[in-house]
């Protein structure tokens, strides 16, 4: 994404990393993770947590700030939690990321059509229609969401909520020469 967005809620993208953390699905596990971050003074930009494919485990996807603490240290401290089973650092270039945005927009008069148009361009959905407002949702890459959110801001966002990003590693693919992608070097 080439658009430079000064309102990017994630700040400087070089200073944050995505961690995908598999934890045992047990009471208090989120408190352990968030407590560790609070206690050690690490920053979380976003956090998404839900059961994984296996009901015994949950996947926590978090975007962490590494401007003050090296990523290695955050990972090692996290891994000391007994309930943490696996930590994968997701390189944004080698992962697929998604996030969802819901926003309610003021749409007096002919602005409604403009917003619906805009939603169409971004393939966003209109979820709810009020007499002078619309609620729209968009799931896409976090950068697309930034873009869309900035445009909506021009119309007046009444309320908005983002889910925080979720991500999975890109799948490996057979290259035409028969080698595996990423092993070239």
């Amino acid at each position: 994404m080439s658009t430079l967005n000064t309102n990017n809620p994630y700040g400087d993208s070089h200073k944050h990393h995505i961690l995908s953390v598999i934890v045992q699905n047990r009471p208090g596990v989120l408190a352990r993770v968030s407590g560790l971050f609070a206690r050690r003074g690490y920053n979380i930009y976003s956090l998404a947590v839900a059961p994984s494919y296996d009901a015994d485990f949950s996947r926590i996807t978090m975007v962490v700030d590494i401007s003050a603490t090296p990523l290695e240290q955050i990972v090692q401290q996290l891994f000391k939690l007994i309930d943490v089973v696996e930590i994968t650092e997701l390189d944004p270039r080698k992962s697929v990321e998604r996030e969802m945005l819901m926003a309610s927009i003021e749409v007096e008069g002919d602005r409604r059509a403009q917003v619906v148009d805009l939603a169409g361009i971004y393939e966003a959905k209109v979820l709810d229609v009020g007499s002078a407002s619309l609620t729209i949702s968009l799931d896409d890459t976090p950068e697309k969401l930034d873009d869309f959110e900035e445009l909506l801001r021009g119309y007046g966002i009444v309320e908005s909520q983002r889910t925080g990003r979720v991500a999975l590693p890109k799948l490996e693919r057979e290259s035409p020469k028969g080698g595996t992608k990423g092993k070239a070097s």
Partner: protein, 585 residues
């Protein structure tokens, strides 16, 4: 198939502790934990009834320190659990294996602000290696097995089990999980023992090629039972050794290669050797701020080999050149092997005799010094310690509280055997020594246990001497009474322009009468001539605990000292040595 045995949760809990070979535990009953105290009546486990739950925690720590086995404490819910927070945190900071069992209100009452309810799991989450609320009686054996496994493996630490009252009452089918079942239930817990082979070779090469190596020993050497291996490594390299506050005794003080304790109140030699080293081989040490001083100015020329069982310690403070994660004993043995192989293939060690003689020069120039007391003047605390040390029976275990007396004990005692020194290093818990000494004596009943305490510390936990008397666990306490919160007073003198604010403990009680009221022998020593007789008398008494109050000089300060935030190069020497400062080059 034989019929399954049906037990109550409480019976299962106590049996599980027996299965874990618990011989002694420390605790105090109360409402929610009551059911667990009933099967205890028939148990082989000795329960030591304390006078305050904090005492139970520190006793468990003292027990673990000297035996290497996990200390066990059991208390009730609410205030008992919160009283346990300090020992848990202390054990967490100093990596002491400990299992603590707390009662909890019945599952149906959790979250209702019931009587003596508190969020024990939430409160202790950040001061334990792990904690667990048990929600079914049938889960008790597995929870206990996991607790002992987690507390004693990897980097040791405290584990808390919170058990609601109804879970203790409910019936369950007894089952004892296998090792494999325990591991399977902990998919996120794996510990690394062996170090990386490549890094071990790199460490061996670095140790052979360094001109100014220092072995920097931390408490991990003791946790890993690595003292013998470390001694072999030091001797084969003839490298200087320093032992941190947590590692005192890990390497014998009377060994010519031992240069004592580094850090804020370390010896000038240990501090300077680290500062000037070109290689620090950190073994089970964590580059604590009390050791490094200002990190930016710490051992600026040194490369770092860092051996630690906890991968999170690698690079936490100082980036290592050779990180080695694993068990200290295993890795040191591997390094020794690698060195021998290198030597066999012709790689000789760089000559480090110039370095040794330089370090020895510092040791000669900067011994520990204090001004002897004037005739008729107050006792010098250092002199009392020297006498206690020299008159102590062989194998004596020494405990300390926190403050000046702790630093003097660490500096002036001669620790020649591992597991003879018990103190609160990381958390710095005043009041640690009396209960820790009782726990240590319970774990090593054949050894003499001396607690060196301050008057401030003693007044925090002295009531546990009642426990000592009633349980017949006889310890010896030396109070270095300077009628001040001595270390704080020292800081106020040195860094706050002698403005003494709330440090004067002059209204102190009569320690002799207090000791006697608790069933101990109380002795007061005010002049140098009385010292030896008092200590000898204390050492000869084996059927009661003894408290000696030494009335010591109020304004004595601990030297050397690296002021907080200063670099170790700026260590303040004893005033008698400051003029020789230039020799510390």
């Amino acid at each position: 198939m034989s019929a399954k045995e049906i037990l109550t949760g409480a019976e299962a809990l106590i049996r599980s502790l027996e299965m874990e070979n618990v011989e002694t535990m420390f605790g105090l009953p109360g409402g929610c934990i009551l059911p667990a105290y009933d099967p205890l009546l028939k148990s082989s486990i000795r329960h030591v009834l304390v006078r305050h739950e904090q005492g139970a925690g520190h006793m468990a720590q003292g027990y673990a320190h000297v035996t290497g086995r996990p200390g066990v404490a059991m208390v009730t819910s609410g205030p008992a659990a919160t009283n346990m927070v300090t020992p848990l945190c202390d054990a967490f900071m100093d990596s002491i294996p400990m299992v603590c069992i707390t009662g909890q209100v019945a599952t149906s009452a959790i979250g209702t602000d019931a009587f003596q309810e508190c969020d024990t799991i939430g409160i202790t989450r950040s001061v334990t290696k792990h904690n667990e609320l048990i929600m079914r009686a049938e889960d008790i054996p597995m929870a206990v097995r996991q607790a002992f496994h987690i507390a004693t493996t990897g980097r040791p630490g405290p584990v808390l089990l919170d058990v609601p009252k109804d879970i203790l009452v409910n019936k369950m089918e007894w089952n004892w999980p296998t090792d494999q079942e325990v591991l399977d239930a902990l998919p996120g817990y794996r510990t690394v023992t062996e170090g990386d082979a490549k890094q071990i070779k790199a460490a061996a090469k670095l140790l052979l090629s360094s001109e100014r190596p220092v072995l920097y020993l931390g408490g991990g050497v003791l946790k890993a039972r690595a003292a013998e291996a470390v001694k072999e490594l030091a001797e084969m390299l003839q490298a200087p050794v320093v032992t941190t506050l947590m590692a005192r005794g890990a390497f014998p003080d009377n060994h010519p290669l031992c240069y004592g304790m580094p850090g804020m109140h370390g010896t000038a030699t240990a501090i300077t050797a680290m500062q000037k080293a070109d290689l620090l081989c950190a073994l089970g040490a964590r580059f604590d701020d009390r050791v490094t001083g200002k990190v930016a100015g710490f051992a600026p020329e040194a490369k770092i080999i860092h051996v630690d069982i906890d991968p999170a310690e690698q690079g936490k403070v100082r980036k290592p050149d050779v990180p080695l994660t694993g068990d200290c004993r295993v890795i040191v043995e591997e390094i020794i092997k690698a060195i021998k192989e290198l030597q066999a293939s012709g790689t000789a060690q760089v000559d480090i005799t110039p370095w040794r003689s330089r370090v020895n020069g510092w040791r000669e120039q900067f011994p520990l010094v204090y001004e002897p007391s004037e005739p008729g003047g107050r006792l010098k605390p250092q002199f009392c310690l020297e006498r206690l040390r020299d008159l102590a029976p062989a194998g004596t275990i020494v405990c300390a509280g926190v403050g000046q007396h702790q630093m003097w004990t660490s500096l002036y005692w001669e620790f020649n055997e591992p597991y003879t020194w018990v103190n609160s290093g990381g958390l710095g818990t005043m009041g640690f020594s009396v209960p820790a000494a009782i726990g240590a004596k319970a774990g090593q009943p054949d050894k003499t246990v001396w607690a060196i305490d301050g008057d401030g510390c003693f007044q925090m936990t002295a009531q546990e001497l009642v426990t000592a008397t009633t349980e017949g666990i006889h310890v010896k306490i030396a109070i270095l009474n300077n009628t001040y919160l001595g270390m704080v007073r020292q800081w106020q003198e040195m860094f706050y322009g002698e403005r003494y604010s709330e440090v004067d403990l002059a209204g102190c009680p009569d320690f002799v009468k207090w000791a006697e009221a608790m069933g101990c022998v109380g002795i007061r020593v005010e002049s140098p001539e009385e010292i030896d007789a008092a200590i000898e008398r204390a050492n000869s008494i084996n059927d009661r605990s003894v408290v000696i109050e030494f009335r010591v000089e109020e304004f004595e300060k601990v030297f050397p000292m690296v002021p907080a935030g200063a670099a170790n190069d700026d260590v303040l020497l004893h005033p008698m040595q400051e003029s020789r400062r230039e020799f510390l080059k």
